[in-house]
């Protein structure tokens, strides 16, 4: 396959970026999208040019590092997969593919396609945890959890924090991410003690980071590589409202 790539190049957050066009020849349909970028980068290095910076780590869809906005959609045209799991067979020979970084005020570009997602870390640090100060782990069977709640918590916990929800949202809202993180703890007994405090702190931090608000378009759910449901956003709204009324 021969592919024309239009890739966003930006030296750093202070300089203006622009699109560069690259021809990638003899692409195997079985290559992953990131492997195609590896090949392109090898060529660029050989030519003495600056390789394209992009985030990646596990390359098996669980770490949440890869983050490309491909042809107008985060993680490309497939549903429920990350960019590293996207293969070139999803494209046609001769295709032109436009690749951009996540676009959000809260995700400043570091370089090229790599963005700074530490705003997510700060939201987590604000309350996305359970404080356990001492002692050994209890026997799991001593805390009873209904299976339905455990399943919902597990589905929410599948969030890998990649930021595709923010990238997909027309408002760059982080509601799906925050709702998944709030839900996974609000649904479990271990999360009850800090339940109200947690949701208020995390939402405050989310707002401080400059993410937009939710218009309920559902774009986040549709583009989430882990299929996190917007039902979590409704839960976040409930949690936040009840916490604000109670506190």
């Amino acid at each position: 396959m021969n592919i024309t790539l239009k890739v966003w190049r930006q030296k750093n957050n202070n300089e203006r970026g622009r699109f560069e066009t690259y021809q990638v020849k003899d692409v195997s349909p079985d290559m992953s999208f990131l492997e195609m970028f590896d090949v392109l980068n090898e060529d660029l290095i050989t030519e003495g040019k600056e390789p394209i910076a992009f985030d990646h780590d596990c390359r098996e869809g669980i770490c949440g590092m890869c983050s490309m906005y491909i042809n107008g959609r985060p993680h490309g045209p497939l549903q429920g997969v990350t960019t590293c799991q996207l293969h070139m067979r999803s494209f046609k020979d001769g295709d032109t593919i436009v690749v951009e970084p996540w676009r959000a005020a809260a995700f400043p570009v570091i370089k090229d396609l790599a963005v700074d997602r530490t705003s997510f870390d700060r939201i987590m640090a604000a309350g996305g945890f359970v404080s356990v100060n001492t002692g050994n782990a209890q026997d799991a069977n001593s805390i009873l959890i209904p299976k339905t709640d455990a399943d919902l918590a597990f589905e929410a916990a599948a969030c890998i924090g990649c930021g595709a929800c923010v990238a997909a949202c027309k408002n760059s809202s982080a509601m799906l991410f925050v709702s998944a993180k709030v839900s996974q703890l609000a649904l479990l007994p271990q999360g009850q003690v800090e339940r109200h405090e947690r949701v208020i702190k995390m939402v405050n931090q989310m707002d401080e980071e400059g993410f937009g608000s939710c218009t309920n378009t559902g774009a986040c759910e549709a583009e989430c590589p882990k299929n996190i449901s917007v039902e979590n956003i409704a839960r976040l709204n409930r949690e936040y409202l009840s916490a604000k009324i109670a506190k």
Partner: protein, 262 residues
């Protein structure tokens, strides 16, 4: 922490949407009443029922109170909505070069700001034509003469532009007849909708209502945290059938009815 007090709720990203949801759903309830009342325009009684209804809506103290709450609600919904639109634009300073929104969301859901702006313009025009003119403009009076025994209206007489009266409506009984003199808003409606451009404007705006509510009604429940697999289909069906189809189509039928029945 100061940000923990209850009022700070309304400055948060979630609180803003709660305001939009509560005000929006209240306006939805109003639309049901409005369309039901306006169905009296289709009654073949030279507008007697509709005119009496207009008097009731503008004189009953309880209804008047609710209508002022409604005006305030619309203003809050519009201002907060415009503010949210601009705040959200700030969250993405650099736009995507290639954006494929249709792949993951519906057009209406992404364009609530534009649709809402069209509706705000509509409300201003609509309020001027029928609310302002009814209250402060020169609406002529009409005398309706109804036979008491049969309930049949025998006469609807225009009182002319010079006729003035202290109240909006007077009813009296004389002999076998009941006489009603009432401000003829029905005639105003009839006259206004002789203008093709206005009729088209109304129909286009009802299209905007349809798209706005197709997303807005269901979305309001989600913003309030009301998302439950058991009831979602009901919310969605009501939003689609009643608020996006039946109500806007009924409203659009009114100007079309008068235009084609001149």
């Amino acid at each position: 922490m100061s940000s923990n007090n209850f009022l700070s709720l309304f400055n948060s990203s979630i609180g803003k949407k709660v305001i939009m949801a509560v005000t929006g759903l209240f306006i939805c309830v109003f639309l049901v009443v409005h369309v039901a009342g306006n169905f009296q325009l289709f009654k073949a009684d030279s507008g007697l029922a509709f005119n009496k209804y207009a008097v009731l809506m503008t004189t009953n103290p309880l209804i008047k109170t609710v209508s002022y709450v409604l005006y305030l609600t619309i203003i809050i919904h519009a201002i907060r909505g415009i503010m949210i639109e601009f705040e959200n634009r700030k969250a993405r300073p650099v736009k995507y070069a290639k954006y494929n929104g249709n792949a993951n969301s519906k057009w209406a859901s992404r364009n609530m700001g534009i649709l809402g702006t069209i509706l705000l313009v509509f409300i201003v025009v609509h309020m001027h034509d029928f609310w302002y003119n009814y209250k402060f403009g020169h609406i002529p009076y009409t005398l309706y003469k109804t036979e008491l025994a049969t309930g049949k209206m025998t006469e609807a007489k225009d009182m002319g532009p010079d006729f003035k009266m202290g109240s909006k409506m007077e009813e009296m009984l004389a002999g076998d007849y009941k006489y009603v003199i009432v401000k003829d808003l029905y005639k105003e409606v009839k006259e206004e909708f002789k203008q093709l451009w206005l009729v088209l404007f109304y129909v286009v705006c009802m299209g905007a209502v349809s798209f706005h509510l197709y997303h807005g009604f269901r979305s309001g429940f989600q913003s309030l945290g009301l998302n439950n697999r058991k009831y979602n289909n009901i919310f969605q069906s009501i939003g689609t059938w009643i608020f996006a189809i039946i109500i806007p189509a009924s409203f659009a039928a009114m100007p079309l009815y008068f235009y084609f029945n001149q």
